[in-house]
């Protein structure tokens, strides 16, 4: 099942997604990337699936690589798999983004106690029990690090798989300097967002 969260977009996302057979969830107001993700998680948990793959909506991720990130979940080696853009071909990522990503990944690794090379990647797989335990509270780009810290603190296993990222010459939106500083600030000051919904950790 493919679930598309339309964060009040002004293009033809809804029509095209429905035409392609996806289930579409619409926000009547723009909430931000973190808000779209948490809406998707809440909705997806209503369906009876064991694992959830997330991808960004800007065409950066290649769906053919889903088996690569899904593999550690199927082998019961991890509870969260991050598709890392920096494990191979990291030159394709713009230099500024690469430096910022490296800094944020170091800070996130420190806060979570797990080595992470690409903490801001949106191409991930979550096992159901992870999302049943915690869904991030941030509405913006802070979600990416926040959910990893929450999961790591609850002893869920985090693993990375190499992916390739497609950087289109004209990107409409994306995390900027302000978002990077906000992530850095939240990781240093309060890695675990009190607004996040955390429940008792289910037994493995």
């Amino acid at each position: 099942m493919v679930l598309v969260v339309d964060d009040d977009s002004q293009d033809h996302t809804v029509e095209l997604s429905r035409k392609a057979g996806a289930t579409v969830i619409r926000h009547v107001l723009r909430l931000g990337t973190g808000g779209a993700l948490s809406t998707g998680f809440r909705a997806a948990l209503k369906a009876d699936f064991e694992a959830f793959v997330t991808m960004d909506g800007d065409g950066q991720h290649n769906p053919n690589e889903i088996p690569v990130v899904l593999d550690p979940i199927l082998k019961h080696e991890a509870d969260i798999v991050i598709g890392s853009r920096l494990l191979k071909q990291s030159e394709s990522m713009p230099l500024f983004k690469r430096i910022a990503n490296r800094i944020l990944s170091i800070v996130t690794s420190f806060a979570s106690g797990t080595k992470i090379t690409d903490s801001q990647s949106g191409f991930r797989v979550y096992r159901r029990k992870v999302l049943e335990y915690a869904i991030h509270g941030a509405w913006d780009y802070r979600w990416a690090s926040e959910i990893l810290v929450q999961a790591a603190k609850a002893d869920f296993r985090i693993k990375e798989a190499p992916i390739t990222a497609i950087y289109l010459p004209k990107r409409q939106r994306g995390a900027g300097v302000k978002d990077g500083l906000k992530i850095l600030h939240s990781m240093i000051k309060r890695p675990e967002n009190p607004q996040a919904s955390c429940k008792a950790k289910p037994k493995a």
Partner: protein, 122 residues
């Protein structure tokens, strides 16, 4: 009567009447009403009794301000900053609530779609 006095008295009287009307219509609380009423009364007094300014002068000098206008501008700016802080805080709280409502609506609207998808899968 000087022109400024007529303007101040007129403005104060109109605003006081509007404030009273707001109270009668229960659109303002008693505390909020009292503060505004005091302000408009002071404006009327400045217009009708010019000596009131000198009374204010003593009061403001006692507070360490050179003239009443210094007092008014300084405290107005301080009050504006405090009000801005409270407003920004309130807007952030409202934004959080609006986001939650938007998300709640979105997740609940998708219920049927997910059920359909599950049926299709089965």
């Amino acid at each position: 009567m000087e022109l400024y006095a007529i303007a101040a008295t007129g403005l104060g009287a109109v605003m006081l009447l509007l404030t009273v009307r707001e109270l009668v219509r229960r659109k303002k609380g008693l505390l909020q009403y009292s503060l505004w009423a005091m302000l408009w009364l002071a404006v009327i007094l400045v217009g009708t009794v010019p000596q009131f300014y000198f009374a204010l002068l003593f009061a403001t000098q006692a507070l360490g301000m050179y003239t009443p206008i210094h007092f008014v501008t300084t405290f107005s700016i301080l009050i504006i900053f405090a009000t801005m802080y409270l407003l920004v805080k309130r807007v952030a709280e409202l934004n959080e609530r609006v986001n939650r409502v938007v998300q709640y609506m979105a997740v609940n609207n998708v219920d049927d779609n997910i059920s359909d998808s599950r049926r299709r899968k089965e």
